[in-house]
């Protein structure tokens, strides 16, 4: 195999980091530039170029596909990410304050101690799952998937029910820090719901997950 064919194969392997739709439209063009900028007799992609292609491919896969002018969608995505961050803070708070909360319940209502243990365990398990789910939904909402908006509003509904359940169980008194974190997550999710379902966001979901139409010659 000559050096050019070997180099081209190496570049094609690296270009696999990019989303398929982007590759379909741009792979041959990028390949031409990569080969034009390569040294004579180069057989393998250099380290810096490889790192650049891998990084750029990941950026292309993760970043929103709505333009910067789609402010409501972009702000909604940011708020979902912040809600995931607040959920992380909630999980840390739950773990850090669990012994104090259990001691309080044991003093105030000894009969409910086993329920408090159960509730804290449930929150410690559900928290990380919620974080992953919110980050995934933030990605999908930013990629113009309409279903992601629908799933997110259902998710917000579940959060609302869990906040109301916690309130009825006296969590605001027994575990005020945990409850405050939960309310913060709920507020951030509510703000995100308002933004991603705003009138200005609608055009970006009208055609499902198709990419933004581009002007081509």
């Amino acid at each position: 195999m000559n050096s050019s064919a070997s180099l081209e194969r190496g570049y094609r392997r690296l270009l696999a980091c990019y989303p398929r739709a982007f590759r379909r439209e741009n792979e041959e063009e990028i390949l031409a530039v990569l080969l034009a900028t390569a040294d004579q007799d180069q057989r393998r992609p250099g380290l810096a170029i490889s790192a650049d292609l891998i990084r750029s491919g990941l950026v292309m896969r993760l970043r929103p596909t709505v333009p910067h002018s789609a402010r409501t969608v972009r702000a909604g995505v940011t708020l979902i990410c912040l809600a995931a961050l607040a959920e992380l803070a909630a999980v840390i708070t739950i773990v850090a304050t669990s012994s104090a909360v259990l001691a309080y319940v044991h003093r105030a209502a000894p009969a409910d101690s086993h329920l408090a243990v159960l509730s804290l365990t449930k929150d410690e398990i559900a928290g990380p799952i919620a974080i992953v789910l919110m980050l995934w939904l933030a990605w999908a909402v930013g990629r113009r998937h309409h279903w992601a908006r629908v799933v997110f509003i259902i998710f917000w509904g579940v959060t609302t029910l869990s906040i109301l359940a916690a309130l009825s169980e006296g969590a605001a008194v027994a575990a005020p820090a945990d409850f405050a974190c939960g309310v913060l997550v709920w507020l951030l999710q509510l703000s995100a719901v308002v933004l991603i379902f705003a009138k200005q966001s609608a055009p970006y979901y009208r055609h499902g997950s198709e990419p933004v139409k581009r002007l081509t010659a």
């Binding site: 063009e29 990028i30 810096a48 650049d52 491919g57 002018s69 010659a217």
Partner: protein, 105 residues
């Protein structure tokens, strides 16, 4: 605006360019300080196209390889002009303050 974005838009201000041409032009404009890599360039071009600042002018096939030429859209030209004016104003203010100190030749 990031420097790489500013330089890519600047390289397209005069005429349409293909990817390899933009890389060389950006290196020229920046005096060799900024050397764009292909991955970075095409990620930036994709974003600029998504934002409606750059568009494809034409496509050619040279030695069996696709060559796509990019050009500024009217929005891209307007944004570049505004950014250039902002940088120019900042640079002028800095020069005015440095002149009495004899730092600027």
């Amino acid at each position: 605006m990031q420097e790489a974005t500013f330089l890519i838009l600047t390289s397209l201000a005069e005429s349409s360019q293909h990817g390899y041409g933009i890389i060389n032009d950006v290196a020229d404009i920046s005096g060799g300080r900024v050397r764009l890599r292909a991955g970075t360039l095409y990620t930036a071009l994709d974003r600029l196209r998504m934002d409606g600042l750059v568009e494809v002018d034409r496509e050619e096939v040279v030695e069996g390889r696709l060559r796509r030429y990019y050009q500024l859209t009217p929005s891209g030209t307007k944004l570049l002009a505004a950014e250039a004016a902002r940088l120019h104003a900042n640079a002028t203010a800095a020069m005015r303050r440095l002149n009495p100190l004899g730092v600027v030749t």
